[in-house]
Symmetry: C2
Subunit: 204 residues, 2 copies
């Protein structure tokens, strides 16, 4: 892109390094920043700096946190014997927003994916094993995405920590509430028939 | 959004103030920044700071510039007697990228739009009048978008600076090169018939 200003060109280059932002969007954002008050830009810069400098991973669940223990792990009202295994912090937020889960989480930081060079050692799996033993966990819920990598990761962890006293479950897959059957993909619809639930439980 | 960290939440709030970026995208960007090296983030912050602190408007064309005169206005090989009137700096770049225009530009900074509370005084129109007089301009080319606001602005400026010696033109509207007629909207196609050009000139 042929930009009239070196400063503009630098800013566009840096902004377009962000994921999902191309040169045109970066230019639009840069021009927006030029027209903003200096105070607003200082706020933006300060928030990014503070984020990078202060945020840490929770000692227990490996989610992002301001303290050594995140506010979920340090909440005594939650059931520390139930652990929900997720890929990243966005999944924690998604489940928290439902208000339906009162146990703790464990953030793996990804899925086992040989194609991308991600093996079990790159993920927070050993710390999960330790938690299962130390906290006398009774149930592990897998909430990874329903892909081959997700299933592989579930199975790897299951094999590693399988014990008689621990219950394993995965979140239910099925037709979304409000969706028409005709627009649901075959695999999801097929699974939702195989894993049908008693009608008496269906409205809970 | 229920975020586990105050710092993350602040950063998401600030990032989502940018145009076209919602909370989900802001969260994705913030999490990306968390995983980036500190050096990369410092680079991003530095480029934004420098952009805001150093960039100025060109004295002549009101485009963004590093110097008092932008590199187009200060280029002696360009014809200062022809001025192309555009809305913003992105239009300057778009026309520059064609390599077809060797005159100078004038950036209005918007269009007259009473609905949005933008009148002639909010735009760089007076400075255009001064240029037309001082630089003995011979042609003014309107390259605003073909909307009601664009046409109103064109007409306002035309009325203000109309003189016998000055030629006024607007950029041609018509069917895009490579486009099928059947997919072209009726107004554009209609205009392209009314404003048809001699065949001998059509391949230039």
């Amino acid at each position: 892109m042929n930009l009239s200003s070196k400063f503009l060109s630098n800013a566009v280059d840096e902004i377009s390094k962000l994921p999902g932002i191309g040169k045109s969007t970066a230019l639009r954002l840069a021009l927006h920043l030029v027209n903003k008050k200096k105070g607003d830009i200082d706020q933006l810069i300060k928030s990014i700096k503070e984020l990078k400098e202060n945020i840490i991973f929770c000692d227990k669940c490996k989610s992002l946190s301001d303290e050594k223990l995140c506010n979920i792990c340090s909440n005594l009202n939650r059931d520390s014997k139930i652990i929900c295994v997720v890929e990243d912090i966005r999944d924690v937020m998604a489940i928290e927003n439902t208000g339906q889960f009162k146990g703790l989480y464990h953030v793996l930081g990804g899925k086992i994916s040989p194609v991308d060079g991600i093996g079990p050692n790159q993920l927070n799996i050993n710390s999960l094993l330790e938690r299962v033993i130390n906290d006398e966990v009774t149930e592990v819920i897998f909430a990874l995405s329903a892909t081959m990598e997700g299933d592989t990761t579930n199975y790897y962890i299951y094999r590693k920590i399988k014990k008689d006293k621990i219950k394993f479950s995965t979140i239910a897959r099925g037709v979304s509430i409000g969706d028409n059957l005709e627009y649901t993909d075959e695999i999801t619809l097929g699974r939702s028939i195989i894993q049908r639930i008693p009608f008496e439980q269906s409205s809970i």
